[in-house]
């Protein structure tokens, strides 16, 4: 479904991605972990064409993301993204946030979109908050609205860029529950996260990146207990 081959990216002189290669199958939940500055966020953003890459190829459902004439709008209808800073539109209510993209981008019928939006808001356990503005919602609630908003576009892959990093532990649980339900429904998810517990429970595959390369990877069963590389062991020992 998503395949990266030998992806390189630099910001000026700083080499951020140094030959990343991996594949994500349909329905898989993949977690990318690693220290700050290892290129995790950049990697996710490159999959969504928010950052261009210098070398290599990223394919989403056969579509080459960084081809010169790629239809970015077509790509982004397949790939949904949720950010660390929620990035909700502050001048619209929660339900308007969720409805905006399907109405104006997909040109779907307003009544249908509204019904669907209400279902999605219910799905993320936020009934009753449809008409609140983002400023009136807590961080966890805003993040769940952001997830609902991305889901409204019916993507095939969901990207999560450290979505719980700005939240307190209680609200982290709420958001992770939502993502868990999503994963159990069969959505392909690529998460950049520091939540090891979540990764251990839910991920099909874990990739550890450091300084722009994938140092080690494996299913959670073996990854956490039988880490081979010294760098991986060092990282895991600090957080587990």
């Amino acid at each position: 479904m998503v395949s990266l081959k030998d992806v390189h990216k630099s910001f000026g002189n700083l080499k951020v991605l140094n030959g990343i290669t991996f594949d994500v199958m349909k329905g898989e939940v993949v977690c990318v972990i690693g220290p700050s500055g290892s290129g995790k966020s950049t990697l996710i953003r490159c999959i969504n064409a928010l950052n261009p890459i210098d070398k290599g190829s990223i394919k989403v459902e056969g579509m080459e993301v960084h081809a010169p004439k790629v239809d970015k709008l077509q790509l982004r209808r397949k790939v949904g993204m949720v950010f660390q800073q929620y990035n909700l539109f502050p001048h619209k209510t929660a339900i308007q946030n969720v409805m905006m993209a399907p109405i104006h981008v997909l040109k779907q019928d307003k009544v249908e979109v509204e019904a669907r939006a209400r279902r999605l808001i219910k799905k993320v356990h936020l009934e009753g908050k449809e008409d609140s503005y983002p400023g009136e919602l807590s961080g966890g609630q805003q993040q769940r609205v952001a997830i609902a908003r991305s889901l409204a576009m019916n993507p095939e892959v969901m990207l999560f860029d450290e979505v719980t990093a700005a939240l307190d532990p209680e609200t982290v649980k709420e958001v992770l529950l939502t993502i868990r339900e999503l994963a159990e429904d069969g959505m392909t998810c690529i998460l950049v996260t520091h939540e090891m517990g979540f990764a251990r429970e839910l991920a099909n595959h874990i990739y550890f990146t450091d300084r722009g390369v994938i140092v080690e990877h494996g299913p959670p069963k073996t990854f956490f207990t039988e880490a081979k590389d010294a760098r991986t062991k060092e990282f895991l020992s600090q957080i587990l």
């Binding site: 982004r76 539109f89 001048h91 993209a101 952001a146």
Partner: protein, 301 residues
């Protein structure tokens, strides 16, 4: 000045906790670091001072005048007030008319220019930058001269010769620097929207135009209102500059009135003092409302 316990006086508790800073400390800090240093901070005491100055000058003039009572400076001023303020739609009313139209035209053109400034195409950005900087940094009087003396006094529109009155040329002359300053406000507002908004709009497959009109620009409007109103007040106070070019607004008519009254020197104080007072009376509510809106929008950000 509020007193901080523990610093300016005795601490009321032994815990190292200060009360939150009083509003005016934080507010004034933001004020001084604000992007628009042409801030017009009119206060009531300015008005009282002007009124007091006017009264004093008028009193002295009255005392010194040797004319009979009905020709005293204040009585003369009182007779001429209708002429100076609204004679045939000229006078002070003309100042307000010029400021209204110049602001309207300047705002529309400035919004366009400001949006061009954030275009994806380099030549468009560069051209817009040049136009903005040119009109921002040109003296308003010189621009006014150029427009008023270079524009024809009549144009043929649809086969008919239409006379363009002086005040319309003044409107165009004033709208140019206003356009440039509004463009800067618009550009600043667009660039102050966090990049996360652009990115999340992109991720939802909005086109650039949709992003700009449905997501970015609505958020900008709130931020643009205080500096916009500030420029309106500045513009209104600059309209007397047009009197140099013969536009019959209040300063010009006041000068004419004084000439009609034999140019007696004791009239200068009362007449010009009166002009200061009416301009203040018009601009102060605007400035006050601007400050109120700034405070209101500050907290939300």
């Amino acid at each position: 000045m509020a007193k901080l316990p523990g610093i300016d006086g005795r601490a009321s508790t032994d815990l190292p906790v200060l009360n939150p800073l009083p509003r005016h400390f934080a507010a004034s800090a933001v004020h001084k670091c604000g992007p628009d240093w042409y801030r017009l901070e009119l206060r009531p005491w300015h008005g009282w001072l002007l009124l007091a100055a006017f009264v004093m000058v008028a009193a002295v003039a009255e005392a010194q005048s040797s004319a009979p009572l009905d020709r005293s400076p204040l009585a003369t001023l009182y007779r001429w007030i209708p002429f100076i303020v609204w004679q045939n739609g000229n006078g002070f009313v003309l100042n307000l008319t010029i400021s209204f139209f110049a602001m309207a035209i300047g705002t529309v053109l400035g919004a366009i220019l400001g949006l061009l400034r954030v275009s994806l195409y380099m030549p468009v950005r560069g051209g817009s930058w040049f136009v903005t900087q040119f009109f921002r940094n040109s003296p308003w009087l010189v621009l006014l001269f150029c427009i008023m003396l270079l524009m024809p006094y009549e144009m043929s529109i649809g086969g008919k010769l239409v006379r363009i009155p002086d005040w319309m040329k003044a409107v165009i002359g004033f709208s140019l620097p206003i356009m440039a300053n509004i463009a800067e406000i618009v550009r600043g507002a667009v660039q102050s929207i966090p990049t996360g908004q652009w990115e999340s709009a992109e991720s939802l497959a909005f086109s650039r135009r949709q992003t700009m009109w449905m997501i970015i620009f609505p958020q900008c409007i709130k931020r643009m209102i205080p500096p916009w109103m500030n420029w309106y007040a500045i513009l209104t106070m600059s309209t007397p500059v047009a009197s140099v070019l013969g536009v019959e607004e209040s300063v010009y008519l006041a000068a004419q009135a004084m000439v009609a009254e034999d140019s007696r020197p004791e009239l200068l104080g009362p007449f010009y003092g009166f002009l200061l007072v009416i301009f203040f009376l018009y601009c102060y509510p605007i400035a006050k409302w601007t400050m109120h809106l700034e405070r209101k929008f500050e907290v939300n950000g």
